[in-house]
Symmetry: C2
Subunit: 345 residues, 2 copies
C-alpha cells in the first residue's frame, strides 16, 4: 500500500486539500460534518501527513534537542539519569507531534562545542533542553546561544532572568532530609559537599544548614567534609568523618555516589548501618536501591522536569514572553534502610 497523500484524502472526502490540512492540524472553522467526512477518509486510507513536507511548508522543524553530558563517553553512572530525561522529553514531544533529537555532548573533548553548534545548525531544532551539569557551564550555554536557538536550562546554578529554566528544590528538600535525620534523634549530622562546579549540588549544602537551624542544631565545620561527587571522594570523606573522636551518627552526602562510598567505608569498618550510623544521599540512582542496605535518598522528578522543559519550548514558540523565569518541580525523600534512630534513642 503506497502511502496516501493529502490529495487522495481530499478527493475521497470530496473537499480541497486545504480542508484536509485543517482537519489534520485541528484548525478551527471546519464544519463538524466536513471534519467527520475527512476523518473517515483519513482512516480509510491510513493517511499520515509527511513530516518533511509539513516542516518545509510551515517553516518549523518540529524538533527538540536534548543536550546532555554523554554518559557513554564517561563511565555510564549517569545512564539512568539520561534515560529519565529522554523519557520525559519524549513524552512532551510525542504529545506535540514533535521529534526528539538526542545530542550527547562530551564536554571534556576540545571541539565538542563547535561540533554541537554545527549539529544544531544542521538540524535546526526549535528548542534545546540543556541538562545539568552542562546547564551551568557558561561555555556550553554560550555555544547554544550563538546558534540563536531557544533553550531551557535544567537545574542551572543561578537563574538567568532572561531565560526559562526548570529546577528542583534542592535547598528545601535537603533541609527536609536534615530535619528528618534530626527527628530520628541524631545530633551530630555530618555533610559531604559535592563538586564545586556543580551549582545545584552546592545548594544542598545550604539546605543542610537550614535544616540544622530548623532543628536547633549547631552547625560545625568539623562535621563537613569535601567531596567531588565521586564514590571515591565519598569514601575519603567518610574515613575522615568517622575517625573523629566523636564521630557523627548520621552522614548526609550531597549525592548518592558519595553516599555509596560512605556505606562502603562503614561496611569495611564494621559499622552497622543504620544501627550505628545513618546514611542519606541525593539523586536516587539505580545503585541506591541495589546496595545493602538500600540507601535513603532524595528523588528528583527528572522525567517530569524534562517534560516541562520540552513543553515550555514547544509552547513557547507561540508566546516568547512565557519562556522566562524558573519553574520548580519538587523532589521528595525516599526513606529506605540506611537511616534509622540515632544510637541510644
Amino acid at each position: 500500500m503506497p502511502k496516501a497523500t493529502i490529495f487522495e484524502v481530499a478527493k475521497l472526502a470530496g473537499v480541497s486539500i486545504k480542508t484536509v490540512s485543517r482537519v489534520v492540524n485541528h484548525e478551527p472553522n471546519v464544519r463538524e460534518s466536513t471534519r467527520e467526512r475527512v476523518e473517515r477518509a483519513i482512516a480509510k486510507l491510513n493517511y499520515r501527513p509527511d513530516q518533511s513536507a509539513r516542516n518545509l511548508a510551515s517553516h518549523r522543524s518540529h524538533l527538540i534537542g536534548l543536550v546532555y553530558d554523554d554518559p557513554a563517553a564517561y563511565e555510564l553512572p549517569s545512564a539512568g539519569y539520561v534515560i529519565q530525561l529522554q523519557q520525559g522529553a519524549l513524552k512532551a514531544c510525542s504529545a506535540a507531534m514533535s521529534q526528539l533529537l538526542i545530542l550527547p555532548c562530551n564536554y571534556r573533548k576540545a571541539q565538542v562545542l563547535a561540533q554541537l553548534k554545527s549539529l544544531i545548525e544542521e538540524t535546526r531544532p526549535e528548542g534545546i533542553i540543556l541538562a545539568a551539569p552542562l546547564s551551568n557551564m557558561p561555555k556550553v550555554v554560550r555555544a547554544i546561544e550563538e546558534t540563536g536557538t531557544a533553550y531551557v536550562r535544567m537545574s542551572p546554578g543561578e537563574a538567568n532572568g532572561e531565560h526559562y529554566s526548570v529546577a528542583t528544590n534542592d535547598r528545601e528538600v535537603s533541609a527536609e532530609m536534615t530535619r528528618y535525620l534530626a527527628s530520628l534523634g541524631h545530633r551530630k549530622i555530618a555533610f559531604i559537599t559535592g563538586h564545586p562546579n556543580h551549582k545545584a549540588v552546592a545548594k544542598r549544602f545550604d539546605g543542610y544548614r537550614d535544616g540544622l537551624k530548623d532543628s536547633k542544631l549547631n552547625f560545625s565545620e568539623r562535621l563537613v567534609a569535601a567531596g567531588d561527587n565521586s564514590i571515591g571522594s565519598g569514601e575519603s570523606a567518610a574515613e575522615e568523618l568517622l575517625s573523629q573522636e566523636q564521630p557523627p551518627t548520621a552522614i548526609f552526602a550531597a549525592n548518592d555516589d558519595m553516599a555509596v562510598g560512605v556505606v562502603r567505608v562503614a561496611n569495611r569498618l564494621g559499622i552497622d548501618i543504620p544501627a550505628e550510623l545513618s546514611v542519606a544521599g541525593f539523586d536516587d540512582i539505580a545503585l541506591a536501591r541495589q546496595i545493602f542496605p538500600a540507601l535513603t535518598t532524595i528523588r528528583q522528578p527528572l522525567a517530569e522536569m524534562a517534560e516541562r522543559a520540552a513543553r515550555a519550548l514547544i509552547e513557547g514558540k507561540n508566546d516568547a514572553a512565557a519562556i522566562k523565569g524558573t519553574e520548580i518541580v519538587t523532589s521528595s525523600l525516599q526513606i529506605r534502610e540506611s537511616t534509622g534512630p540515632a544510637p541510644g534513642e
Copy 2:
C-alpha cells in the same frame, strides 16, 4: 543572520542551484575548480542544507529508528545498555547525515505494538534497529514487518536467513569463560541459566557445556540452577547451589544481575570471594564494577553492534541484497576480582 538557501550560494558562486546540490551531496562530475568555488561560497554563507526540503525532494527520511525495551518503564537496570546502543547508532547516523529516532517500547503494555506501528508510519524511518530482548519477540518483529520498514535485529535468538542481524558470540565466549574458570583449577563449576524467553542468554548455557567439555569436565545437572535474569533469582539459585554437600567452587551466571545475586548470598553466608568461591557473570553492567568484589564478566561490544546495524540499514538502502545474514561481533572476558584460583590450588 538568516539562514542562507541554496539560491544564495548559487548566486555567490556563480553557478546553478543544481551544481551546489551536487557539491553538497558529493556527487561526481563536478569540475574541481567549480567545486572549490562552491565550497567557498558555502563556507562564507555558513550554508546548511534544509533537511526537510532535502528529504521531501529526495523521498528519503534520513531517519533510523532504534527500538528498545523501555528501561524507564521498568526499573532502569538496563539504562547503560540502552545508552550504549544509542551511542553506537548515533555514531553511524551522524556519519551518514542521518538522524536517530529513539523508540522506547514497553512490551508489557497492551497497545504498544499498535502505537509502535503508528509511530513508525508517522515518522517513516528508513530502517529500524531492533534491540534485544525485543528482537526475539515474534510479535514485535511482526509489527515492524507490517509497516514494511527495513530492519535489523540485534542478538535475535535464531537467525532468519531473510534478514540481516547483528549478534555476538554468546556461545563461544561463554565456553571461553568456562575454560578460564577451569584453568584456575575449578572442577565444580556451576551455571545459573537465564530467562527462557531470552534466546541469546540460552546460548550461554550451551557455551558453558562446550567449555566444560573442552576442559574435560563432566556436565552435571546438579550444578545447574534456573534463574530468570533477575538479581533475586540469582540469589535463590546461589542458595540452592551453595547448600549442596559438595558445593561448587565457581558459579557462572548467565547474566550480571544474577551474578550480583550470587555475590550477595556469598557475602551473607560469609563465603569469601574469590578465595572460597569464584563468581562470573555476563554483560558487564555498570554495577559489575561497583560491587565488591568487582565482578569478572563478559563485555558485549554493544555500541559497535548498534553501529554496524545502523550502517547496514543506511548502506543497505542502495543494495538490498547485502542486508542478509548474521554478522558476529565478538565479546571479550573482563577479568576482575570475583574470580581466582580454586581453593586448595
